[in-house]
Each structure stands twice: as structure tokens, then as C-alpha cells.
Symmetry: C2
Subunit: 468 residues, 2 copies
């Protein structure tokens, strides 16, 4: 009898050869097949093409020199020294990097798994990530032709497997794994437990065994940190201390106060996605009875405040990496389905950080332009799919340069997509006439804020001090 079960990760990856293409599951560390990655790195292969969401999945392979090409949403590590090495590899032509908007990343893999070679998507139109791609109008809106992603191998991380290879996933460890399991020509699953045939509820199987070629039962590892060591999310996802204003001189709003200003815009029943940076603070400050439903693109709908030490689970983090809790009525899905909610226009609001916002509503928040070591994540998907985008950011850069500008000079995330901007100095609306200054941080004057803004501010007729 042929069995799919392998006794070791080493045996399971033994036939991956130099130059192979490999899909690697996981979003942040959750759902990442670290044991298979270790075994793959130990093979000392060269010239691999790896398709993985972020540096959690790809960095150890980069550092080990296994890669020729990388397809990823967030490839660059956060650690400055690693980031420098990543940039050097790229600049010397030793590593080819294709950055893909995160929802498009999910859909391209899903299309591959579903046997569909290409599809049109509204995401990324007008940005550099769409350059050279066919654009066509459907329903009065431009769409980009995106092609399917498949690979010789898929390495996925599941929870239970039966001997046929039926798989389920632990909480948000689902993320990209089901789509990747379908898109690998040979799919290898690292699983936490092997159960008997018939033990899994047929309706609870997420990946049917038909897609799975090998199953390796092996104890799960926790997340990889930026230093290539593993440690718990308690460290990886730690929220930056931000109780003090970051600038000298006159007091600006703290990150928490900027977050609270945005919370005043929220209403019961709204579905909201929160990006990296100040937006993550919003989830933690929302009262439990707010009625606001938080969406996270790794595959959560209805998450709540940050988890405390006792509640933490590596498989229950938001897309920005923070350990979170689930609210009653929460549900868990794949990342592909999470982005379907975005692209299908079911979200009411996206709150994002920014590098620059222009007076025409253009947003730049994913690249400083000359940086190969960058990632785009889900931002392009958000601005293409969500009708209202609020930007939260410091009014100026650390060096004091204005971030509100006439025209963005950095690569765009989306054209004319920003509705409002909450900074540590002001609450601003983007109108057809440009920036409308509605509220000022207490203690600041119109002229002072205008002096730190590289575009004209129009004072609202009822311009007033911000209230909390």
C-alpha cells in the first residue's frame, strides 16, 4: 500500500532539486512549515524560485543562499542589518524579486490551483506594480491582467492530517496554505497530528487529500524572528512603545490619540480593516461593545483587542502580527477569501499608514522608490476595494519633511483613494478642491500646521480644535 506519510521532514523534501520552484505557506509566522524549511535549507540547494508571502517564509532561504528568484508580498526583513544584506543581494543581481499585492498574490496562487491561467483584477491599476501588464475596462473601471502562479512543490503547514492527506488548519494558520496546497505539483504538508482515516469530520476538511502528496507529522515550531531565531509572538509582534510624542517642541498627539480620533468616525456594524502602524492601535482601543467588526487579511473577521500573555496563540494574530482575541461571532477563512471581502466591496473603511498623501487623494505607502528591499502587502488591494480610506500618520517625517504634498513623488499605492487624514497635528478631509483642514491639535494654529504641509490647506468654515 502506498502511503503519503513520511517519517521526517528531510525525507519529505529529499527530491527537491536545484532550480526548483517552491510555494511556502504562512502569513507572518503562523501556518509556516518551519520544519520543512529547515530540512530544505539543510539540502544546500541553489537557484530556487520561492513564492511566499513575507520574509517569515523566505528570509531563511535567502540568507542560506538558496534563491535565484522570489515572488512575495513583503519580502524585505524588518531587521536593518538583514535588510541591508537583502538589498545588496538584489542590487548585485544575485536575487530577482517580484513584489505582488497581497490579495493578488492569493488569487494568482488560487487561479493556479484551480487550473485557470489568468484573470483581470482591479488591484494596482495605475501603479508601478501594474506596469507592462495588459489593462482592460470592465464595468467602466480599469483592470489588470494577472497570471496564475504554480510551482513544482508546495510546502504547507496544517493541523491534523489523515493518511489520505485530508487537512485542517489551526485558527488563522490557514491563510495561504489551502490555495498553495492546490497549486503545487507535489504538495508536502507538515502537520501537528496524524489521525485515523474517518476521524476528520468530512465537512471540516479544508484541503482534500487529492491535493496532498506527502504528510510529515512533526512538532510545530513557533515563529521566526527577524534574527532568524525562533521565539514566540510575544516578542515578534510586540507593539512599539508609543505613549510619548515622537517630536520635540510643542506637544503633538500621541499615536493613541490619533487612533482615538479615527475611532470617533466608526459606527456599529461597520466592517473595518486596520493597516500597520497607528491603525493597529485602533483595534486595541475599541470598546468591546463598539459593534465594529474588524477584518484582517490573513483570514479573520471579528477579531478583538490584543491577546494578553495567557491568551496568546501563534496561530491567532492579526495581519500586522499582533496576537489578538476573537469576538463572539468571529470567523476564520483563508487569505484568498479575506481579500474577496475587500475586492468584493464588503468593507466600509480601511485605515492605513502613509509615506505621502497628495491633495488629489493619491496615496504612497509602500516604497521609498529606490529601495529594492520593500514589500507591498495588502495596501493596493485595500485602496482598490474599499470606498473609504482614512490615513493615519505623523504629519512630517522623522527629519521634519512634510508628508502631505501637492503630488506624490514616491511610487503610488493608489490614485485618488484617500478620503481623510488623521495626523498628530490635524484632521483633514480630501476634497475635489484639495486638503480641507477641519480640526487642529489643541495648541497648534492654522499657520503652524500649514508651514509643515507641502500643499495648500483650506481652512474649514467651522475649523476647530480636536475633541476626544
Amino acid at each position: 500500500v502506498i502511503t503519503k506519510v513520511r517519517v521526517s521532514a528531510a525525507e519529505a523534501v529529499a527530491d527537491i532539486a536545484d532550480g526548483a520552484s517552491v510555494l511556502v505557506g504562512g502569513f507572518a509566522g503562523g501556518g509556516t512549515p518551519f520544519n520543512l524549511l529547515d530540512a530544505l535549507i539543510a539540502r544546500g540547494l541553489r537557484g530556487l524560485t520561492v513564492i511566499g508571502n513575507s520574509y517569515f517564509q523566505v528570509w531563511p532561504l535567502v540568507e542560506a543562499g538558496c534563491l535565484r528568484r522570489l515572488v512575495s508580498s513583503f519580502p524585505a526583513p524588518r531587521d536593518p542589518a538583514q535588510r541591508e544584506r537583502f538589498r545588496a543581494l538584489h542590487d548585485h543581481g544575485d536575487l530577482e524579486v517580484e513584489v505582488v499585492p497581497q490579495g493578488t498574490f492569493a488569487e494568482r496562487i488560487r487561479a493556479g490551483g484551480f487550473g485557470l491561467p489568468a484573470f483581470f483584477s482591479p488591484v494596482g491599476v495605475g501603479t508601478e506594480l501594474a506596469s507592462g501588464k495588459e489593462v482592460r475596462r470592465f464595468g467602466g473601471r480599469d483592470h489588470v491582467l494577472e497570471t496564475a502562479l504554480t510551482a513544482d512543490f508546495a510546502l504547507v503547514k496544517a493541523w491534523h492530517a489523515d493518511p489520505y492527506g485530508n487537512l485542517d488548519y489551526h485558527l488563522a494558520a490557514r491563510n495561504f496554505n489551502p490555495a498553495m496546497a492546490m497549486a503545487g505539483r507535489t504538495t508536502i504538508a507538515e502537520v501537528e497530528a496524524l489521525v485515523a482515516l474517518g476521524d476528520l469530520d468530512p465537512a471540516a476538511v479544508v484541503t482534500p487529500g487529492i491535493f496532498v502528496d506527502r504528510v510529515v507529522p512533526v512538532p510545530s515550531q513557533v515563529a521566526w524572528t527577524a534574527r532568524g531565531q525562533r521565539q514566540s509572538y510575544a516578542t515578534v509582534g510586540a507593539v512599539k512603545d508609543s505613549t510619548q510624542p515622537r517630536f520635540g517642541g510643542k506637544p503633538r498627539l500621541t499615536r493613541e490619540l490619533v487612533a482615538l480620533r479615527v475611532i470617533r468616525e466608526l459606527e456599529p456594524g461597520m466592517h473595518v480593516n486596520l493597516g500597520t502602524g497607528i491603525p493597529t492601535v485602533i483595534g486595541n482601543l475599541l470598546p468591546p461593545d463598539s459593534g465594529v467588526v474588524l477584518h484582517s487579511e490573513n483570514g479573520l473577521l471579528g477579531y478583538g483587542r490584543f491577546a494578553d500573555e495567557a491568551e496568546r496563540d501563534v496561530d491567532l494574530v492579526s495581519a500586522t502580527g499582533e496576537p489578538v482575541t476573537l469576538s463572539p461571532g468571529a470567523c476564520i477563512m483563508s487569505s484568498g477569501e479575506a481579500f474577496a471581502m475587500v475586492r468584493g466591496r464588503h468593507l466600509d473603511l480601511s485605515v492605513l499608514g502613509a509615506l505621502q498623501v497628495a491633495e488629489n487623494g493619491d496615496l504612497a505607502n509602500w516604497s521609498t522608490g529606490h529601495d529594492a528591499a520593500r514589500g507591498v502587502g495588502g495596501a493596493m488591494d485595500m485602496v482598490a476595494g474599499v470606498g473609504r480610506v482614512i490615513v493615519t500618520m505623523e504629519h512630517t517625517t522623522l527629519a521634519g519633511a512634510p508628508k502631505l504634498v501637492e503630488r506624490c513623488t514616491l511610487p503610488l499605492t493608489g490614485r485618488g483613494v484617500v478620503s481623510q487624514v488623521a495626523t498628530d497635528l490635524a484632521w483633514i478631509e480630501v476634497t475635489p478642491e484639495g486638503f480641507l483642514l477641519r480640526e487642529l491639535t489643541p495648541g497648534w494654529t492654522f499657520d503652524e500646521v500649514q508651514a509643515l504641509t507641502a500643499a495648500r490647506l483650506h481652512p474649514a468654515p467651522n475649523l476647530r480644535e480636536m475633541e476626544m
Copy 2:
């Protein structure tokens, strides 16, 4: 507090207006929102566009005169009198009918729900259902551009719902419901039970509440028969009595014996899809320890023999409507995922019935050409996605006309797709040189079979009598 719960089906559909477009869930009767359909029919609306898999979902609306346009995979009822009325409506121009291959039907709805306007598919290339559509080559293979399907309303049938609208589905009642719930601008769910927020396991929610606008708890109805009455699947899915040969004169193989000849081709570990007609018999004759995994496009992998009276469940039928059992290791998925297995080339064999097979391997099995009242089902998806196709059929029509021909005269299902043909007279291989006759039904000669064949038969060097 706004609640999604409605006390009656009538209230839930009260704002559907003349001319609206409506998606209706269900595959055969399973997962069909019959209570919502009743309420909709009672409204006496006109000019609706309805998107539903088969006559189970659409016939009552057709009969009630509600429809202007129909998008369906199997629209025509089986009942001859109903079929005649259906044809008359179509011929008089009172009803526009768009027939869509079943897997493409699932994907077009999914694309709509996922916010993607169009995609390329390998299904239906070279057939009349692809005529007028853009064709483009990817990976050396032609693909057809298919567009998304969405609608003003989606009527779905779920199992449990919580007040937020999170849904799960009972067994194979899942089918098209999750995709349709995402593709409706207003989605109305008929559910069997309302549970408290938090009662559903987040990981077991199939349709997140973000997609659901109204929930109606109401007792489930059983399946609709061809006469518009409801009765159990015991009647609807009954297998035709086929223990006697259907032709006079010299004995031919019974349907069971033709099925057994195909079973000799099966090996442990093979994944096999069985079409309508003789192929359905195969599933019932397979020994339990065969190791063959049966796939059903409504969303089952690993089903077994027909269910007996005590085991029958309206939500556990194969795609051909027979009540079936689940084997250990079975899993249940949506129809979209079931067709992903097909299009993604994971099936080893498709066994289909046919109207005509040509010596170049062309297959015609979905339309008699001049019949508006027809359906295509999943056959085009199967032949586009499965490398080996065995046709089982009677060697001649009821009128005695040959079904093995030089060139098909009926509309094609696929070009050059048939590998072997099992008839009640012979076992034939399709080769580059044409039909290779390998085995004869005992008692029949080469010349006798050739005389009932409208293409040249090449006798195999080792031509012999069939053994069972």
C-alpha cells in the same frame, strides 16, 4: 439594533422587484432555498433573470412565468411534458436561456463574489458554448475568456446561522451556496436553525456574515420532483431498472456488465468522476476495498455505494442525484472547489455517457443540436480537465442508429478527448488510426459489430471475447 433575522420568507423577499436578477443556490434539490422560492413565486413578479444550476432551482419560476432570462447549467426539466413547455417558451422568444458548463458556472459566480470581472478558462474551447468569446493561448493551450456573474439578490440555503449571518451548510448542501452568497448584492439565507452569536466554531463558518444581509429560520423542505411536487430523493434519484438488455435479438451486455468492464480498468488510488447513465452504476458495483476515490462535482470526494433507505439524506447525493454514502476519509467542499480538482488535473479518469463518439476522439454528449431545452452540466469541464475519458453507452440508439461515427454531427462536448469506449457490444480504444476493437461481447462477431458502427473498426491483433 439592526438585526438580519426575518420572521418569514415572504418578508425576506418583499423588496425583490420585476426585472431583478436573482442567484438561486442548490445542486439537484440539495441546498436549494425552496421556502424562499415559494415566497418569490407568490409575489407574481415578471421579467426576472435567474442564475441557478438546474431545473430544480429554476423550473418552478419558469412555470410561474416569472422569468425573462435564465443562466444555468442544466435548465431543461426531465419530465417530457415540462420539457415541451420549456421548449415552447424558448422557441416563442419568451425566455432567453444561457447554458454554461457547470464548473465555469461555479467560477463565474465565484469571480463575481471575489470582485474579479473576467478570467480565462480551458473549458469548452472549440464548442458552441465558446462561440463569440475571446480565445487566447496560455502554456500552449487555448483558453476562453469568461466573465463574472453577480446579481441583485442571492437566495441561499444554509444549515445554522448566527444573528450576524455567519453560515454553515449540511453535508453536500454546500454546493453553489457559498459562492452565490458572495456574489449577491443582497444575500438572503434560508436556514434550518438560528444559533447564538459565538455558538458556531469560527473555523467551521463557511460563509462569513459580512456577505449575508437577511436570515430566515424556517423548516427545510425536501426535493422538488420533475412534476413540481416535492418528495424525497428516494423517488427523484431512483436508478432506472436495467437488469435486462434493452434490445431484442442477440443478447447484449446489461448496463451492469458494461459498468463492470470499466471497473476492470480501475486501480487503487485512482480518482474517478462518474457521469450520468451507465457510469452511475459503477459507483454501486465498486467493492468497498477497491481503493478507488470517487469524485462528485456537487462537492464530494470519497463517496461510496448508493445509500439504502435508512441511510438516505437529501443533502448527501452525488451529482447525478443518487443518494450515496461517504467512505472513511471522505471530504465535502463547494462545487467550485470540486471543479478546481478537475481543472487542476487531479482526476485520473472521467467516465461519461455519449450521444456520439467519433474515430478522432471527438465527443458529443450534451445536445441533440435542435433542442433548446438542454443542459450541459459538468461534461465540458471533465473533458477539458481529465486526461483519460472512458465513454460508456449503448452501441446504437434506440432506433438502431450507430453512435460510433467518423465525424460527430451533433454539437461537440470536446475535441479529441475520448480514450476508450465501453458499449454493450464491444470494448474499443481510440487511437491515432481510429477505433481499435479490442474485445467483443460474447456471441458477437467483428462483422456484426462493424455493421452497427458508422466508422471503420480496426481489429486488434489480439482481439478477443470480453471476460468479466
